[in-house]
């Protein structure tokens, strides 16, 4: 998949996690557990889900708990990237605070995270 598809995949998955938490009035963590529990075992879908949650869950929880939306989460975790000279790609309305400020704040929140050692392709 191209970088664009990886970005879309991230925004869709984080959106579903966020909206599941909203619909069930639960935490982001509970929402991720719920999503993985819905997936079938075939094709390693359920185990891949739990693997992704174990890798990126802590950061997603931190960022969603700080009311960051899926665009911010995916740019912070570098599944989405704004290349130099290219427009910022976002699905949801931009946050009220300036984008750069929001992104920097989010990056600070996950700065010490072990996640970011994985290259984006993972």
């Amino acid at each position: 998949p191209s970088n664009g598809h990886i970005c879309i995949g991230c925004v869709v998955v984080v959106s579903v996690i966020e909206q599941l938490a909203q619909v069930h009035n639960s935490t982001a963590q509970a929402s991720m557990e719920r999503l993985c529990s819905y997936l079938p075992e075939q094709l390693f879908l359920k185990s891949t889900c739990y693997l992704v949650v174990s890798m990126f869950g802590p950061d997603i929880i931190k960022l969603l708990s700080a009311d960051m939306n899926a665009d911010v989460v995916c740019h912070t975790l570098e599944f989405c990237k704004q290349d130099a000279g290219q427009p910022l790609c976002h699905l949801y309305p931009l946050p009220k605070a300036p984008w750069e400020f929001t992104l920097e704040k989010a990056r600070q929140m996950v700065k010490r995270s072990p996640t970011l050692k994985y290259s984006r392709s993972d």
């Binding site: 191209s2 970088n3 664009g4 598809h5 970005c7 879309i8 925004v11 869709v12 959106s15 579903v16 909206q19 599941l20 909203q22 619909v23 999503l35 529990s37 819905y38 997936l39 079938p40 075939q42 094709l43 390693f44 879908l45 427009p87 910022l88 790609c89 976002h90 699905l91 949801y92 309305p93 994985y118 290259s119 392709s121 993972d122």
Partner: protein
């Protein structure tokens, strides 16, 4: 990171990759291009093999010695009538002019669909993902529910049947004779890469009805400026002529080939742009306009030309589509082939929209909600219905006659082994 790099998975990954690239079944022991496995280009895409250890046994072939000893063409009709010693295949199918259906298509023909249940949190439950493995191993396509070769009951409650089921209904001897050779991203320019996956022996097999339906990717791409990448009428003419020559050297005499024109895709923006995308329905914060913009920004839009707020670009795309349709029309009226008759049919999306509205439906209900681009099952079956009625009216010889022995076939062989 790449699961296929694990030693014990390398081989199977290679096999799966080959199957998908060449559009041939992953599991095909006798290499006759027909399979007993559903997905990975199996019987969801072409008639199910009834003997996967004998390469001379497959759907669509003329019967071997009237199938006295075995069902050589997998239509479920074989053996000898004990009352008079006449082989059933001879008694019920001789002279009925059996024929198969073959679709050369793109993601629309394969019925590409990302199920909205997979991304709609408010309705999500354990059962939401039960069909995800099947979809993933069919490249997110549902050919088994498609308008051309569908044979399973889908999720819409529309009564219309696929072209294959209609051919089967008309002549039960056509049972299992379908091939959906569609591919995501296919166009006139890359059909050559997978047209070899067409399975038809010019001497041994029944004639076929072949539909060439590359309805979008010649004008659709994800580029920031999609126009330079669009196929020109000259490029289309050259490639389609090549394709027809290939078909003439592979199709049994007495076949028919239909060239389908391209739609006017301005329908998409006009009917969807201000509606909420499934991801935006919970909080009413994402419309298809925003969704299209996001896809185009990432340069992964399936069709930037039509999925755009830029009216000029949408109009340009439709103009090019119309030029390409005119080119196909010109080919159909000017070229002749020894083994098949050639026809052109419009892609009548406007007409089926009117039909759907007559039934009380809304135009936006004809489009896949998650990608906001592909025709959905209702649209595909309405298109099939319109195509069938047009052919029946204008070229009735194409569909063959009603087989008077259908009731007897049903009586003796029931569902003929199903699908």
């Amino acid at each position: 990171s790449d699961i296929c790099s694990l030693p014990f998975l390398v081989k199977i990954c290679q096999k799966i990759k080959l199957a998908i690239e060449n559009s041939v079944p992953f599991k095909d022991v006798d290499s006759d291009k027909y399979s007993i496995f559903p997905t990975l280009r199996g019987y969801h895409w072409r008639g199910r093999d009834c003997n996967d250890s004998d390469g001379t046994v497959y759907p669509g072939r003329r019967p071997d010695d009237w199938d006295i000893h075995q069902d050589s063409n997998c239509n479920g009709i074989w053996g000898v009538d004990p009352k008079d010693g006449i082989p059933y295949e001879k008694k019920f199918c001789e002279g009925s002019q059996p024929r198969g259906i073959i679709l050369l298509g793109d993601s629309a023909g394969a019925h590409f669909r990302i199920s909205p249940e997979w991304i709609t949190a408010s309705q999500m439950a354990l059962k939401s993902f039960f069909n995800l493995p099947t979809a993933l191993t069919n490249e997110l396509n549902w050919p088994q529910l498609s308008g051309a070769t569908g044979f399973l009951n889908g999720y819409s409650r529309i009564k219309e049947n696929s072209l294959y089921l209609r051919l089967r209904e008309r002549n039960h001897c056509n049972h299992r004779d379908y091939q959906n050779l569609s591919k995501n991203g296919a166009s006139s320019q890359n059909l050559k890469k997978f047209i070899e996956s067409l399975s038809r022996n010019q001497l041994l097999d029944h004639p076929a009805i072949v539909i060439y339906a590359m309805i979008g990717n010649d004008v659709c791409n994800g580029r920031r400026d999609p126009v330079p990448e669009m196929t020109t009428p000259e490029q289309l003419y050259s490639k389609v002529t090549e394709t027809l020559k290939f078909l003439n050297s592979h199709l049994p005499n007495g076949s028919h080939v239909f060239l389908s024109g391209l739609p006017d895709g301005t329908f998409l923006w006009d009917n969807l742009h201000d509606r909420y995308h499934p991801l935006g329905q919970l909080n009413e914060d994402v419309t298809y306009d925003q969704f299209y913009t996001f896809l185009s920004c990432l340069q992964v839009s399936p069709c930037h030309g039509w999925m755009s707020s830029n009216k000029t670009l949408r109009t340009l795309t439709s103009q090019r589509a119309e030029q390409l349709s005119d080119t196909l029309k010109k080919i159909a009226t000017s070229q002749r082939f020894t083994n098949f008759n050639l026809f052109y049919v419009d892609f009548d999306f406007q007409e089926i929209t009117k039909e759907w509205q007559r039934r009380g439906g809304q135009p936006w209900q004809l489009i896949e909600p998650v990608d906001g681009f592909h025709p959905n099952e209702v649209a595909l079956l309405l298109l099939a219905d319109r195509f069938w009625n047009k052919v029946q009216r204008q070229w009735p010889e194409v569909l063959g006659k009603e087989n008077p022995f259908n009731p007897q076939i049903k009586q003796v062989f029931g569902d003929q082994g199903g699908h």
